[in-house]
Symmetry: C2
Subunit: 334 residues, 2 copies
């Protein structure tokens, strides 16, 4: 490996001078600058980022923590993060946490020993204190898919409203018995969507029927069976709103296998708009989250925060950005 010192020798100057021209310090004589640059090119010198990091206490690296990259909403978010990080000269480390708080903590402590510059945390569980602590210590963090309150930087959507709009759309389409496929209730995201569903029912004067909510409970079995049970129970809904697109896929499969047609017998709607949603048959009506933009914005917020901290020594006040969703009507609803 060719080092700064080699360049210095080759150019007949001191290492410090080379360092100066490479960090574009304005104080260096044009002639020596040229001589140094020639040597740099001649030796094809690449500065050692690790040494720089050690000296400077930052690594130009950020971590993206997701429950699982296999969860269909995360590839797009991840791509948004990576693209904007790359543009700003940052590298991203991918961490799958499986929603395991201990795993998350382990990652955080491990990465901090490498001078990681910041974290984008995209898990969905209710806030645990280790993230708050991180923030309080002055560490750049941006939350996504999980917003505690307005005390930590975050970007997300208004889940309550998203579900409200979906339900409202269904109601306007003449649906009267709208079921709801509710994901694990300890996840705030799903609770919010559930609340939106109920509010829409309310404000349309439709009764809320506990019978019509399919609850994913561990042990009770999957949505597939729950959906088929619901139908067999005789109280057949005329529409089902799923609390996420992947859940809608399962619901659709159950309906189909039970011999029901979508949307003729029952409309199905999701929330998320993952890539697959437009590819299934029938294409799923849904409320789109701007996934790529969420990732991109999270990354640029984080980087801004990192740079702010470098300048001023502390974090800028937290700010949460709520991106707008988009009602997308395809063919799974009538």
């Amino acid at each position: 490996m060719v080092s700064l010192k080699d360049v210095a020798e080759h150019a007949g100057v001191s290492p410090s001078t080379v360092s100066r021209v490479l960090s574009e310090k304005p104080v260096v004589n044009e002639n020596t600058r040229i001589r140094v640059m020639d040597a740099v090119r001649f030796l094809d010198y690449k500065p050692n980022e690790l040494a720089k990091s050690l000296k400077l206490g930052r690594s130009n690296t950020i971590a993206l923590m997701v429950p699982s990259i296999q969860n269909m909403i995360f590839p797009a978010i991840t791509r948004g993060v990576e693209d904007t990080a790359k543009k700003a000269g940052y590298t991203v480390i991918l961490c799958n946490t499986d929603e395991d708080v201990e795993e998350e903590k382990r990652y955080i402590t491990r990465l901090r020993t490498r001078f990681i510059d910041g974290f984008i945390v995209a898990s969905m569980l209710p806030g645990s204190d280790h993230i708050r602590k991180l923030w309080r210590e002055g560490f750049p963090v941006v939350l996504t898919c999980r917003i505690y309150d307005d005390s930590i930087d975050a970007v997300g959507i208004d889940n309550e409203t998203a579900a409200f709009e979906a339900t409202q759309y269904l109601i306007r389409g003449g649906h009267k018995k709208i079921a709801f496929a509710l994901g694990r209730e300890e996840i705030p995201l799903y609770r919010d969507r559930f609340a939106g569903y109920r509010r829409a029912l309310d404000s349309a004067g439709l009764p809320y029927d506990e019978e019509l909510v399919i609850r994913e409970t561990i042990g009770t079995g999957s949505f597939y069976f729950l959906t088929q049970n619901l139908i067999k129970r005789g109280t057949r809904p005329d529409a089902i709103l799923a609390s996420s697109d992947p859940k809608a896929f399962v619901v659709m499969r159950a309906l189909h296998d039970a011999g029901l047609s979508i949307p003729d017998d029952v409309s199905v709607m999701g929330i998320d708009n993952v890539e697959t949603s437009s590819q299934i048959e029938p294409p799923l009506s849904t409320v789109a989250q701007p996934l790529y933009e969420i990732g991109a914005l999270a990354a640029s917020k984080l980087i801004r925060q990192i740079q702010h901290k470098e300048k001023t020594g502390k974090l800028a006040p937290a700010q949460v950005d709520i991106l707008k969703t988009d009602l997308i009507i395809r063919k799974s609803t009538r």
Copy 2:
């Protein structure tokens, strides 16, 4: 940040001693060992990995380069990589290259300045020399989804055979006019799959009909229109084998929108078995790649190679692993 020196002072020993107990060197007195460990715990000392990396010339970090994490085969592969890397104490950096060789090179040079320990390169383009060069320089690399020859470590599947088996299955099912939806031909993967298709036709004594191959050419339009054209041309196929699952989705959509029923009017088959394949309607028959295992094996090969290099100073002989595929029959074929 608490450093090794702090621990040393606190324990009343020299930094080297602390270093020794922490790297579990056997030569240290039990008593001082305990004293040091107490200090470590008391100060909650975490070694600075960056400093270690700088000193040792390795970072316990590997890079995973994929065309795009949004390409549906990569989330599972990525998860396989990350899981096994994590278990071995490695961190993974995710790089989206968009199949752009220059981008790939830029990543490589940039990451090398951080003492990256190895690369998993999962792009699909024919081999460019920068990867070969990397390998020749003694840098651990494992290729995946792209096998040049047997001179570089790699893991993948036998694409020719995969397509052969799919075609053969279709033929056995009584299909006589089997179309093929062929991805960009500069990608060897697709060429191989195409070859397998042709060989199966051949060995069954079925004629190869150029009319029946839908070629994705830039500018000619998407598979959607190509498929509909094929149908309108009058030579309606009784089956279509797509060179990848995502392409099969488009084909299915085109067929559906043209009023044809799958599999009654035409069978559709894919190759890959991405997650969505089982979720669409009808569920797609396909040849499964063991995606997670590909990622996991790639990572463990890479790590083994890294460790081999640390021991011996050079790479172990290249070895390419061909994982077996799995014919999965669902409902898109009759």
